[in-house]
Structure formats: structure tokens, C-alpha cells
Symmetry: C2
Subunit: 415 residues, 2 copies
């Protein structure tokens, strides 16, 4: 009917012009620019007979009541990283808006099931280091005690930043009430990786989000003068760390979709004239299979201990964060696959390495699936993040099909 994917692209550009600068998108959650983006979004709802409110965690709910209270949730997030791209998060929200408009029109304001669009609060977690903040509150997995003491770069406590936006952190758990009647959840997102571009495919089904083991690893050696310390007398913490940086690759390589990344290395004292006495690194490991993830963690840890011993150093591990793999709903995967095939002919199934709010929704037991659209160069969280406009339009079409299939699925289920 009146689905207009070109409007989605135009609105994405409008949002970019409003909330971006020469360095990219600046819609960091709990900032004025983010609030401006939400205000702009609210203005787009004029003329739709929708109920609109913010929940106790700051998630933005737009509800089009249907014949059944059973609800299809369609989510995304308007917040971005600093100097971010124009599509990450915002594509989902604006594609969902277009789908909502189409449904509203097709069913003359009264679809078979209730349709709820959500703009999740603080998916990125950039400012306070806690991603999926709003969706975890929805899922009942929020960690208030740990999160309330977080501060941003300027020392502003999370609690104060949220209060400024009308959110009381003590009331966070009340966001879980929004789960009521939720029947299914769908989310469209850019891939943020190079797989689809390499395969020459515009769209894919997302099997789930990979589990993550994220650790800080510290090798302790002995600081020593670079000129006076013979090679065989050294306890070089960097050497032990370098061995691990290389070893994580064969550890990941045994499993087709697994990834292991050492993203940060810091050397102490870190001067040109001293053997490294202490080396701090981070390790991020991901896979969709919990057994693979556990094996990779164990192997990396064992390797680090072996390398530390070889270099007469010691090693300490401390977990930064972890999340289990989240597999999306089998029936929803099939619906997504069908929708993609109907629009572009060929589909593909792949796990998501990045986390998404959909993982939290799925954890809450709501049948969930995501759809990926190709990213150019696999680049995201950067102003040069991009997707061909033709692909964006195909994505909106396929996502709309998925919505229809999900509505049909929920209608049958509620019979």
C-alpha cells in the first residue's frame, strides 16, 4: 500500500542534519542533542492515533492499539556514539515509523494486533559505559546498584544525568511492566560488518547475538633498563602479552563465526628506555555457541599462563563483562527469511557480533528476530558509516513484510 521507503531515507537525512555535525552523529544518550532527536521524532507522530509515553527507564513507547492487546514490538534507538554514523539505531526507529504508518493506513487505525514502536534509551552506553541500559530495564535485567555509581568523563553521575531527563533510577525496574502483552519483537539494523558486502547480499536474517566474554588481562614482569639488562635476564611483560595477542587468532580460527580481539594494550612504565614491567590488555571473545565461547575463554586463559611462565612473568585476569549467547526465535527466523527472499530473492543467516537491544528483549522470553542490511566497508560507529540508499529501501520493504508476517503469526497465536 502506501509504504514509502524513500521517506525513511529522507527522514534519516533530516535527522542527520538536525543532530549531526562535521564529525558525525552526536545523539549521545542523556544529552540535549539526544533530547532534540526525540522531540523531532515525536513531531513525526502528528496525525497518527497513537498513545505515546516514556517508561520508567526512559524508553520511548508509541502504541497503536489493535483488535487484540497482543502486541508486536518494533524497536530501535535514536541514541548514537559520539561522532557516530547516520544509520546505527536511527534506521530501526525510522523504518519502524514507516511500517507503523503503513499498518495504520492499511487497517484504518485498527490493526489485528497492537503495534508498539520503541525507541530504547541509551543502547550505546557511551557516556556511562553501560550499553543496553533501557532495554535491560525492560527485560528485568537492569543492574541499578552497579550502574547508579557510574560517572561520565566530567564526573557527572549517571543518576543526575537521568534525572535531568526525567528518569529516576530507583524506578527503573518499573519499565518491565511494558512487557505486558508483548507477543513478538522485530528489529532492523545495519550489519556494522563486512560479511554481506563480501557475499554481495543486501539483507540477512540474524540468528542471534553472540555471547561475549570480556576480560582485562595484566601481565606482571620486571621493569628494567633497556641498555643494561641482558636479553636473557629480562622479565618482559610485553613479550608475554604479544604472544597472547597472536595466539587468540588460532583460538578463534577453529570456529567459523568466532572472534577474539585484543583491542587495548598499555605498557608501564611505557618509556623507550625501559623493559616493560607491566602490560595491561583487554580481550573480547564472541560466539553464538556457549560451548565454543567457554572453550575459547579457557584456551586463552591457559595460553596466557603458559606465556607468562615462559617469560618469567605472572598474569592476572579480571572479567570486565560477559553476556551469554542469545539465539533468536526459530519461527521468527523463518518469517524473516521468507520476508527477505520475497523482496530480494536470496537470504542468508548469520549471527550478530555486536549486541543489540533485541538480545535483551529475547532474554525476556519474547519471540524475537533481527534483520541486517549491508554496511559499506563494514564500517560503523564512525561518520563514514554508510549503506546504499537502494539497499536501505529494500530493507524497509523487507522489514515491512516481516512485520506483516509477525502480525499474522500473532493473530494465529491469539486465536
Amino acid at each position: 500500500m502506501s509504504l514509502n521507503p524513500k521517506r525513511t531515507v529522507a527522514e534519516l537525512k533530516e535527522l542527520r542534519a538536525l543532530t549531526g555535525d562535521e564529525n558525525g552523529a552526536q545523539r549521545v544518550a542523556w544529552t540535549d542533542t539526544w533530547l532534540k532527536a526525540r522531540e523531532w521524532f515525536a513531531s513525526k507522530l502528528t496525525g497518527l492515533a497513537v498513545e505515546h509515553h516514556y517508561d520508567a527507564a526512559g524508553n520511548n513507547w508509541v502504541t497503536l492499539p489493535g483488535k487484540s492487546e497482543k502486541a508486536l514490538l518494533i524497536g530501535g534507538h535514536l541514541d548514537s556514539v559520539p561522532n557516530g554514523g547516520w544509520l546505527d539505531g536511527a534506521l530501526n526507529v525510522l523504518a519502524a515509523l514507516e511500517v507503523l504508518r503503513r499498518i495504520n493506513q492499511e487497517f484504518q487505525g485498527r490493526p489485528p494486533v497492537t503495534i508498539r514502536l520503541i525507541d530504547w534509551a541509551d543502547e550505546e552506553g557511551t557516556r556511562f559505559g553501560r550499553s543496553l541500559l533501557g532495554s535491560s530495564a525492560f527485560a528485568g535485567t537492569a543492574t541499578i546498584a552497579a550502574d547508579r555509581v557510574r560517572t561520565d568523563h566530567d564526573g557527572t553521575p549517571l543518576e543526575d544525568a537521568l534525572r535531568r531527563c526525567g528518569v529516576e533510577i530507583d524506578r527503573f525496574p518499573e519499565a518491565a511492566r511494558e512487557q505486558k502483552n508483548a507477543g513478538a519483537y522485530i528489529e532492523l539494523h545495519i550489519e556494522q560488518g563486512p560479511v554481506l558486502e563480501r557475499m554481495g547480499l543486501p539483507l540477512s536474517v540474524v540468528l542471534g547475538t553472540k555471547g561475549v566474554e570480556r576480560h582485562a588481562i595484566t601481565f606482571h614482569g620486571q621493569e628494567a633498563h633497556s641498555g643494561s639488562t641482558p636479553m636473557n635476564a629480562r622479565h618482559d611483560a610485553l613479550a608475554a602479552c604479544a604472544k597472547l595477542a597472536l595466539e587468540i587468532r588460532p583460538i578463534a580460527g577453529k570456529h567459523s563465526d568466532a572472534v577474539c580481539t585484543m583491542g587495548s594494550v598499555k605498557t608501564f612504565p611505557g618509556i623507550v628506555t625501559a623493559v616493560v614491567g607491566r602490560c595491561e590488555a583487554t580481550l573480547d571473545q564472541r560466539d553464538l555457541d556457549p560451548a565454543v565461547l567457554a572453550a575459547m575463554f579457557r584456551e586463552a586463559r591457559e595460553a596466557s599462563e603458559r606465556f607468562a611462565a615462559e617469560e618469567r612473568c605472572t598474569v592476572e585476569w579480571s572479567r570486565i563483562w560477559q553476556i551469554e549467547p542469545i539465539a533468536f526465535h526459530p519461527k521468527m527466523l523463518d518469517l524473516c527469511d521468507e520476508a527477505i527472499r520475497e523482496v530480494v530473492g536470496a537470504s542468508h543467516r548469520m549471527p550478530s557480533g555486536p549486541l543489540h537491544d533485541a538480545a535483551e528483549v529475547s532474554r525476556a522470553g519474547i519471540p524475537t528476530v533481527m534483520m541486517f542490511v549491508q554496511s559499506l566497508g563494514g564500517i560503523s560507529h564512525n561518520k563514514i558509516e554508510d549503506t546504499r540508499e537502494g539497499h536501505l529501501e529494500l530493507a524497509v520493504r523487507a522489514f515491512d513484510r516481516l512485520a506483516s508476517k509477525a502480525i499474522a503469526f500473532l493473530s494465529e497465536a491469539s486465536l
Copy 2:
């Protein structure tokens, strides 16, 4: 005669109490604490018939005129790194003072040759990143144009800090006038490495100072999301750097005294969720043989290019600093060897990895040698830097013998 090595130890402790704190020695050049150390040192000259002045580069000269104008120079430095040890530099100055007292007494103020004690200005170069500042001015190798624009951590220009201490940087080259009549130079220093302790020897002859090639190396890859970028699609700058960190060891290992050190690694963006897009490292390579040094530099550079290519990265090198190997004077080496054997029975010859003012003096064509005394644990530039007091006393005795032999050598030479 009246040589009193215990007095040297006592004076070192006095200086420590005056200019150190709970974190170690704080005699950073061009600071008030350093000036206080120099004032204290000047007070120790009372009663000696010496001429005392600061040269155009701030080097502190104490001259005991002899029958011949030909001079034996005995040097050290009172400046320290921040949080430094009690011996590095100061041992040389106070041992030289004790030797000067002995000579003054033995020859009733009129030794066969002139004796000149020098406290070099700013050996460490900690505050402005330029070591051997005073001795390079003496040697005529000062680099004023490059150095005058240096600033410290607080933005104070080198030029201003020196002026506050009565030194005009434009007059620096005049310090070379002090070379007049210089016949030989001797310097006692703690080893700052573990070699003598491992060999069970208190003292050694220093063959010379190793040449240094010091480079900044930057690997450029492609920043990418740790979750969405397959292992085989990465351009991981850290992986290339890790390979080099390990490869420099076999490169050094081919040569008995050579060392190669990667002291600093920095990762960009350096976050747990991103493949490293840029990795900056430092490499410090040292050997006494210029051919070995050149070969090690070439091999490291070639290896880095190979590793960059393997990881689909690029690599850039930029020289931070270099100095050629400086071999000390053959006759002076023999005299030092004899002096050590006479006092402790056994000697050893080894190159110095760390640089010393003696290298600059040697560059000026003055017959030079250094003597090392054992360091405990090989640790220096740290408050726990230490040497057994018995070894310090043996060092003062052997150094005094070396002075006598050097005086005899100069007396013969001037006949």
C-alpha cells in the same frame, strides 16, 4: 694514606637525606632541589685550595692546580631522575671528591698534574628529554637549535629554566673551552644492570658505551568492530606490532651483548570493542659494535615491513634519536683493569648499555675510561636502587688507584 671510603658512603647518605623523599632522590636538573644539592656540595670544598666555577652550560668545575697544566678530569653528576636512587651520578661526584681530598693531602696541594672534578649539568635529561646536556656542550656536540624549543611538563621552556639557574643557552658552546689541557677522564658509576651481581664480581672495566638506534614505529591497519568483523577480514595493527615485539629478541640474540627493547606500545582507538587500527611502538637497540647495530636496525625494519604486509597493514619508522658506539681508550682500559685487580683480585670488561657523560668526553678525543660497581638486582632509576656498602668502599679504593695510575700516565705523557 688518608682516603676514607666510609666518608663517601656517609656523604651519599647525607645527600640523600637532604634531597630525597619517601619516593627517592629528587635532584632533577634545573630545579631547586638540584641547586640545593650543588650548594651542599660546594660547602664540602671548604678548606681545599681549589678554584670553583660553573661553565657556560652549567657544569660545575672544581680545579686543583698541579705542577703541570695537563689535567685529569674526574666526573659525575648530582642530578637524578625523579624518584631516583641514591647512587646514580652522586656516587661519582662524591667518590671524586674523596679522591681529590686524598690527592690534595698526599701532594700537599700541588699534585704532578692538575686535577679537575666536574659535576655535569643535566645528565639525565628527564625534565626536557635531552640527556647529557652539559657534557655535550663541553664536547662541542650540543644541539642548541633543537634543544632550546624543548619544554617541560608544565610548558616551561628549557631556555627559561636554564636562565633561572644562571645559564644562557646561547652561550652554551663556550663550555667547550673547558677542554683545554684535558689529558684524561675517569668516571665511576653503578652498573645499573644485573651482570656483575650474576658474575659475583664487585667491579668491572667499562669498554665503552653502546651505540643506540631509537625509533618510533607506527603500524597502520583498519579500526573495526570487534564483534562484527570476521577474523579473516581484519587489518590488525596490533598483530603486526606483536610479531615485531617478539622478533626483536632473536635479532638481538645473534650478538652476545646486543639488546633490543620495545618499551612502549600504544593502541588506537584502544578500546575493548575495536580491532586496533593504529599501533605505535618504540624500539631501542644497542650494541658496542657499529656493524652489529646497523645490522639489527636493518633486520628489525625489514621484519616490520614483512609483518605489516602479512597483516595487510602499513608501517612507518621515524628516528627518535641515535648515537654511535663509543669505545673507551685502550690504555685507560688497561689502567682501570689493573686498578680493579689490585683492589679486589678479579676484573671483567663489559660495555655499558646506558649512556654516560663519559661518552661525550670520549667523543671530544680525551682518553677516557669508566669503572662500574655492582648494582643489587640490576635496579636503577628507582628508590630501591642499591649497592652493598662494602662494594661502594671497594669502588672508591679502586677508583682512587685508577686516579693515581692516570696521574702517572699523564705525567709520563707530559715529560
